[in-house]
Amino acid sequence: MAVAAIREYSFAPLDLEEKFHGNRLLYVGWDDHLMFCAPLAFPLPPTMPFRDLVEKVLPPAYSYHPDFARIDWAAVQWFKSGQPWQPQWDESLEQNGLRHKDVIRFRTPGLTGLQGSCS
């Protein structure tokens, strides 16, 4: 459908990739840990190795949670746009196929938040 308008209605989106100064947006959600109230948004260079996302970007964001230190990263299940997905840790975000405004989630088997409440 299209907007009902009195004349031609066409405007540029506000969030095109080129507006982020070389970064692209990546959204990350940690399943079963809703103490973090919503998925997080990160502006990241597409050349960043996936390993750096996990080892450098996520810890300051999530380490407040007692479960974070207990994560067995080899057992973590990843999802991209809701579908099971296997990232290559030593390849870049770009090589892993992550585009501007993609959303990924990770599930940490055995860890389901404070007292198992998914908090």
Binding site: A4, D15, Y64
Partner: protein, 517 residues
């Protein structure tokens, strides 16, 4: 000198005819479509504007008379409240944060409503709706003014009141009410009337004003009670206008039904998402609670809205389809919302706090299905950590919904342990939503919502720092720069209530009010 002339008094209907409808005229040297260019493009068909019935039949002279009387009463109370240092009689200083939320999140909407009704009043060829819109436009301006006057008294003593106008345009959580109203005011005149006049005023406004205002009275805030009820006395007329608009449009042409139904579906949902702020206010921010959000929803939406939609079913209108989703959220909404503000209160112009044990018991009693199971563990953990000096502040910005602009905090309908993710592709870019309803609204008018000014994205684009800021400089602190751009003073206006200047001042002043110091 009084003129002592015996006149036959006009009846209500006669007076309305003479002083409203008879003021209209038919243009002769301009075409109707040039004078009223916006009444056709939305697809709504009106055949006879004279069929409009104004149930209150209020004429302008009576309008001024009653409004003047309301103002006199209101200012008498506000003056007395200020003169008597009434702010020290509120239950406790946490309460004052609800007034901050009101001033920053609700009062600017009054001003937008003033503009909106002036605009659509001008757009309608019928005199009845034009006069009703004129009155509502004036009402809304009065509401903004009285709210600013009444609340300015709090600004003399407490933080978080000093820049509401700028915050409305800049601060992340206020983009939720702002984008809601901007969406309405940029729609056509009929959609605006269904959006604000009907869906918001008639279906949802009771949930906004009645708990807020009754809650203010219950917590000793006579100032807020006075402006709130004074505004609310106009609200009954607004609600009636909203209902009248729906009936009028539907009676005019059967082709109008699907358009109106879609608007009702859209705007009930849009308005409900804005009311997320009210839900947490009722359940977490009022030291003395009047009723829970869930109870208010059941009375004012399920019972009252149910009656309304049964009445409208004779026109073919059905309950907004989001009602089912909302019913599943009512046990969770306020908890999820307050947790979110607890996460991000480093960037808010009001304080948040952990509910006390008494308050948690109240929450547990009001929400037996959800509070202890899903939310209490968070508060217990946060309380433990805060006691060790490790209060939780989420320092990474959240993902937002493209339509309602609320952080993606809502869970799957029926599963409060899973965040609800929805997405769509449009012209080569991904867009994300908190719900099926927000996704559907986007997909119907993507050209509109791709323009959304999402605060998180704007910060990352570098548009929310003071002029001259160099984000590449060593030691650049983005939060600090954003707060400067907001005009929120770090450590004073934001962070936890515990340890705040508001808390200290209130305690000291209250002590002075009860002792000779």
């Amino acid at each position: 000198m009084d003129m002592q002339v015996a006149k036959k008094k006009l009846g209500l209907k006669e007076k309305y005819q003479v002083m409203t409808r008879d003021l209209d005229w038919t243009p002769t040297y301009q075409k109707m479509e040039d004078i009223y260019p916006y009444v056709h493009y939305e697809g709504i068909k009106i055949h006879d504007w004279d069929r409009w019935e104004d149930p209150f039949r209020l004429t302008m002279d009576a309008y001024w008379k009653y409004q003047a009387e309301k103002e006199k009463k209101l200012y008498a109370i506000i003056d007395a409240y200020a003169q008597n240092n009434g702010h020290l009689n509120v239950t406790d200083a946490r309460y004052i944060n609800t007034v901050k939320l009101f001033l920053t999140g609700v009062s600017p909407l009054e001003y937008m409503a003033h503009r909106g009704f002036a605009h659509v009043g001008r757009a309608f060829p019928g005199l009845g709706p034009r006069v009703a819109c004129l009155m509502q436009s004036l009402d809304e301006m009065r509401h903004l003014q009285t709210q600013v006057h009444a609340i300015s008294n709090y600004n003399k003593y407490y933080n978080g009141f000093h820049d509401f106008r700028q915050w409305y345009d800049r601060v992340w959580y206020l983009s939720v009410p702002k984008s809601f109203f901007d969406d309405a005011i940029t729609a056509g005149p009929f959609e605006f009337m269904v959006a604000i006049g009907f869906s918001f005023e008639y279906v949802l406004t009771n949930l906004l004003f009645v708990p807020f205002v009754s809650g203010a009275a219950y917590n000793g805030d006579m100032g807020t009670m006075a402006y709130g009820f004074s505004a609310q006395s106009d609200e009954a007329r607004h609600m009636t206008l909203g209902l009248e608009v729906i009936k009028f449009i539907l009676e005019q042409d059967p082709d109008n039904l699907p358009i109106v139904q879609r608007w009702i579906d859209k705007w009930t949902w849009r308005g409900y998402r804005v009311l997320t702020l009210v839900a947490m206010m009722m359940d977490y921010m009022l030291p003395k609670r009047t009723m829970s959000w869930k109870e208010a929803w059941e009375i004012y939406f399920e019972e009252n809205g149910g009656a309304l939609f049964r009445d409208l079913s004779r026109y073919g209108i059905r309950m907004p389809k989001c009602a089912e989703t909302i019913a599943l959220e009512k046990d969770h909404l306020s908890h999820q919302a307050w947790c979110t503000f607890y996460n991000y209160t480093a960037a808010t112009a009001f304080h948040t706090w952990i509910p006390t044990e008494d308050e948690m018991q109240w929450l547990s009693a009001k929400y037996p299905e959800s509070f202890d199971k899903y939310y209490r563990p968070r508060w217990d953990f946060w309380r433990e950590q805060a006691a060790k000096g490790n209060r939780f502040y989420n320092t990474t910005l959240p993902m937002l919904c493209q339509t309602c602009q609320v952080p993606m905090l809502f869970t799957e309908p029926g599963d409060p342990t899973k965040i609800c993710y929805r997405e769509t592709d449009y012209e080569g870019m991904k867009y994300h939503f908190c719900s099926d309803h927000c996704k559907e609204i986007f997909e119907h008018e993507p050209e509109k919502y791709v323009q959304a000014w999402l605060p998180v994205h704007q910060i990352y684009q570098g548009n929310c720092f003071p002029e001259g800021t160099d984000p590449t400089a060593e030691g650049f602190d983005p939060l600090k720069a954003v707060l400067q751009w907001y005009n929120i003073v770090h450590g004073r206006d934001n962070l936890d209530f515990e340890g705040s200047e508001d808390q200290r001042n209130f305690a000291a002043w209250r002590a002075q009010a009860t002792r000779n110091v």
